[in-house]
């Protein structure tokens, strides 16, 4: 099994594969599980990353761990096969639901933070882990609204969930920022309350404002408050967790993307990924796919 993620990482996407192939010093990368076909060959650039020793973490987005129907066994099998294909030490999914009543929402939706929802999550996490050799980390999402039936704060809810299931925490610092900003709360206080001792790794990203709210769209450069909140997290953690950039649209030029990775490393103190000298790209990564 590949080693646990370390240092500075990135969400691997086909659109930035060539930039990443020309980047040295990536500690790990994450790939959207639903974009992989574990029965076929991995995309060549991703295969090269894995062969070069970069830990690859499959990241599921459609499992719907918070859905009241049991997780789809085919989706669990697929996630486990992805983990096996990249020899992943960890896979991740979300504390959310994406379908109900036969309809797909098209994106992650927040759960009411109730005992009932904890039961649902714990059962689905248990079902998922029966097939996984890798550890499971779960990620709290950014949401614009809360349910009136909430019994817990988000930090209380997560702490109970992780205590009960033994799952690890994928902490998205940008989501903490977004949730706090959109509710007029102090992001640092929200972050301090999180079960930080359970962190496997962290996400950061940049978003955009729409309809008067901050949306964690992964389409823009990281705003200063997200990096400031990351710096706060670094101060709070005895061991600095691995941190990765998510970018899912309006992909920037290579230099700008590497500058974002360097900005993360400057905050965490991890080694900064940097451009490989021309001509020294890893073999096989030149193919566009």
């Amino acid at each position: 099994m590949a080693s646990r993620p370390t240092g500075t990482g990135v969400g691997w996407r086909p659109e930035i594969a060539s930039v990443l192939a020309g980047t040295a010093g990536l500690g790990f990368c994450e790939v959207i599980a639903e974009s992989l076909d574990p029965a076929a060959d991995l995309p060549a650039p991703l295969r090269s990353q894995a062969a070069g020793g970069t830990t690859v973490i499959p990241h599921g987005v459609h499992l719907s761990l918070g859905g009241t129907e049991p997780v789809d066994p085919a989706r669990v099998t697929h996630l486990a096969a992805c983990a096996a294909a990249v020899d992943a030490p960890i896979v991740s999914e979300h504390v959310a639901f994406v379908r109900a009543g036969g309809r797909e929402a098209g994106h992650l939706l927040p759960l009411p933070r109730t005992r009932d929802a904890l039961d649902v999550l714990a059962a689905n996490i248990a079902r998922t882990r029966t097939e996984l050799d890798a550890e499971l980390a779960v990620e709290p999402i950014a949401a614009l609204f809360d349910w009136p039936e909430d019994e817990f704060t988000e930090a209380e809810f997560l702490t109970r969930l992780l205590d009960r299931t033994g799952a690890l925490l994928l902490l998205d610092v940008a989501n903490v920022h977004a949730n706090a900003v959109n509710r007029g709360r102090d992001a640092r206080a929200d972050l301090d309350a999180m079960p930080l001792d359970r962190i496997a790794y962290c996400h950061v990203a940049g978003g955009a404002r729409h309809d008067g709210y901050y949306h964690d769209t992964h389409t823009d450069p990281m705003p200063a408050p997200v990096l400031d909140l990351l710096a706060h997290l670094v101060q709070r953690c005895p061991t600095v967790p691995p941190v990765m950039l998510e970018r899912d649209g309006r992909h920037p030029p290579a230099a700008a993307l590497r500058a974002e990775l360097a900005a993360i490393a400057a905050v965490t103190g991890h080694p900064a990924p940097h451009e490989l000298p021309a001509g020294s790209e890893r073999p096989g990564v030149g193919s566009r796919r």
Binding site: T68, A100, G106, D116, D211
Partner: protein, 140 residues
């Protein structure tokens, strides 16, 4: 904590998704302005997926794409990105407002696949596809 609560959660989740993507009423007790913003965020993501499935259709509309997509699909239950782009392209063609680049994209799809407007498009047999392409060209 008893099993009787479970349908409550299931029903609340189903009602929320129905409201956000299929035009259902907003569930009780939720902030409507925040649900409006969530509904539009889901539509933007949906428009992005359709744009990837129909790149010329989206590109031909430029910055107007999101508005055109939202006008057609806000409150309309999702099918899948290929079908949604296909439905929209056909409707714009019928209305005479389909941009030329998008029209050629649609013609290419219609030559290769058969889509009845209700279920997943199916690939045409090779001779049928070739014949359609010929006819399309002769129409010109």
């Amino acid at each position: 904590m008893n099993g009787g609560d479970r349908p409550g959660l299931a029903a609340r989740q189903a009602a929320l998704i129905e409201a956000l993507v299929a035009g259902g009423p907003y569930p009780d007790g939720l902030d409507t302005a925040r649900l409006d913003a969530t509904r539009r965020a889901l539509l933007r993501k949906r428009a992005g997926r359709v744009a990837r499935a129909w790149p010329l259709l989206a590109a031909a509309h430029g910055t107007d794409w999101t508005r055109v997509f939202h006008a057609r699909f806000d409150g309309v239950a999702p099918t899948d990105p290929v079908r949604e782009g296909w439905d929209l392209a056909r409707e714009l063609r019928a209305a005479g407002t389909l941009p030329a680049a998008a029209a050629s994209e649609l013609a290419g799809r219609e030559a290769a696949m058969r889509y009845d407007g209700r279920s997943a498009p199916r690939r045409r047999s090779r001779p049928a596809a070739a014949l359609r392409r010929l006819l399309e060209r002769s129409r010109g």
